[in-house]
Amino acid sequence: MDNMLNIALPKGRLGERVYDMFENAGFSCPSIRETNRKLIFENEEIHVRYFWVKPSDVAIYVERGAADVGVAGKDILLEYEPDVYELLDMKTGKCRMAVAAKKGFHDDTQRTLRVATKFSNIASRFYLSKSRNIDIIRLNGSIELAPILGLSDVIVDIVETGTTLKENNLEVVEEIVPVSARLISNKASYKFKNERISRILRELSGQVGESR
């Protein structure tokens, strides 16, 4: 591991919001604000390196030590269960993991429930806890289409405002878990770069009103 503190941020609006928090915590990297297609940004003065990665990949980068810390959604952490420290609820990127179905849906418990989702582990665990027999239909996008076309009875997916559901005549049937962005750390990095990671944790905790 080098002397740089490697931080993986999720590409997109959430990543930009989260970067602001890191900047306010004293870990700025001005080049990250330049408009270009670069993926890695460094501030050699304060030994910090940021990378933009696909939100669902942040946890892998951190677990494998390519990043020392990162910001990942709770949905991703619940789905992939990476072996990392989950240090802080950053109280941003808030949404919920929910079961949704066509309006007026009635669950016929005499037959297997067909569930379309990207989050097969979360869905399996949720229905196992209810002892409900299900058939998982693993999809990678446009999950809302599945119940409309009769591919599934329900979907398990992230719901932010509910607008997409509403526009497709779907509604939330049950909430599984609230979701928000989490600060995660590689376990070995936490030992060997502890001073800097603890400082990030302290500063970010202060920003979200958590005492440390």
Partner: protein, 373 residues
């Protein structure tokens, strides 16, 4: 036989260093068969890291398994020594499912077990050997030590039932304080005990500082005995070059159905995950019908690949000797012999393979050896 150090891989060097280390402290080698009756694992499935076991039917019809674990076999084969200690070390391959490829992989393990009448000194010695094992791999290492009975004590006082307890343990292992607070609120746990647990999760530091700060919490009176045990062992560790590398960290969580007391986990800078894992497994001993206590650890040597630098083994050979049809083979043999006698690595080839890395390229001519690159 003299073996050049440069010929050995990092894991091979580590095996030699660790075997020598354990022998110096009176541990004797324990050699075992690659196979074990499947029944042993079926009875102790939860103890295994992964559920799946590679099985086959032996010629006598018995269902056998390629070992997914070493400790169970050692316990099975060790005799009861209620008033003494049996100290063994091993160097074995185990077969487990890889989390990333979801297929079986062979994992090289070196480790030791200390079984019998455990006291503070025996536990100290195992912890010291765990720290020294890490030091053999890299000077930049940390051994995290936890005390599971203290964690269990706090969980009992929180009044957490099985499901919440499992969720709390997961949060403790993740240092997830937000998660712990949420779960504690859901079971209306006492705030002071919740805060004690949070204090324990946040703890990560030298034994002396950590124990002192925990003692200041009046609620820690309930596990005074366990803190005392940690303190007595810390005093023994404190007086050595190892002490700066040893931390108390309660996020080290092993399965409480099998482990009790001291548990630990080792990290080396440059390897992203724990490379050493161990602890006291008195509960596993009981489950297997044994009355004595036990402690042990394993070092996972396959992770040493992370420490390879791109410059390691930069060349496939020091010198390449090229020859062709009609070359005088005696000249070729003598040239190769001269170089190997001078401890060079020599590749004798008719043509150069693509991407072959070498320092010097020579061609055998009628009158001798010509350097061409």
């Amino acid at each position: 036989m003299n073996i050049s150090d440069s010929l050995l891989r990092k894991d091979e060097k580590a095996i030699i260093a660790l075997r020598s280390l354990y022998s110096r402290y009176g541990y004797v080698p324990f050699k075992m068969n690659k196979f074990e009756e499947y029944d042993l694992y079926a009875k102790n499935k939860d103890y295994l890291v992964s559920d799946s076991v590679l099985t086959f039917t032996d010629t006598n019809g018995k269902l056998m398994a390629l070992k997914p674990d070493v400790t169970l076999s050692i316990i099975k084969n060790c005799e009861e020594h209620p008033s003494s200690l049996e100290k063994v070390y091993y160097n074995e391959n185990v077969y487990r499912i890889s989390k990333s490829t979801h297929s079986f992989q062979e994992i090289m393990q070196v480790g030791l077990e200390c079984i019998g009448d455990l006291d503070d000194y025996a536990i100290y010695e195992v912890l010291m050997l765990a720290a020294q094992s890490l030091a053999q791999i890299s000077p930049d290492y940390i051994l995290d030590i936890s005390q599971l009975d203290m964690v269990q004590n706090v969980l009992n006082r929180l009044g957490a039932e099985t499901e919440t307890r499992q969720a709390l343990l997961k949060c403790i292992g993740e240092k997830n304080i937000c998660g712990v607070r949420e779960l504690c609120r859901s079971i209306c746990a006492e705030k002071e005990i919740m805060e004690l647990l949070c204090q324990m999760i946040e703890t990560s530091g030298t034994p002396a500082g950590t124990i002192e700060s925990l003692r200041k919490n009046p609620l820690s009176e309930e596990f005074r005995e366990e803190l005392g045990q940690l303190e007595r062992i810390a005093v023994l560790l404190d007086d050595s070059p190892l002490c700066g590398h040893i931390h108390i960290d309660f996020s080290v969580i092993n399965d409480m159905n099998y482990y009790n007391g001291i548990v630990f986990s080792g990290f080396v800078n440059g390897i992203p995950n724990s490379i050493l894992s161990g602890g006291q497994y008195g509960r596993l001993m009981k489950k297997m019908g044994r009355s004595s206590e036990a402690i042990g650890f394993a070092v996972y040597l396959d992770f040493l690949d992370y420490l390879r630098s791109p410059s390691d083994d930069a060349n496939d050979a020091d010198t390449v000797l090229l020859y062709e049809d009609g070359t005088n083979l005696k000249i070729l043999r003598n040239a190769a012999r001269r170089l190997t006698d001078a401890s060079q690595r020599v590749a004798v080839l008719r043509s150069l393979p693509e991407n072959f890395r070498y320092q010097k390229l020579c061609r055998i001519r009628k009158d001798g050896v010509e350097t061409i690159g």
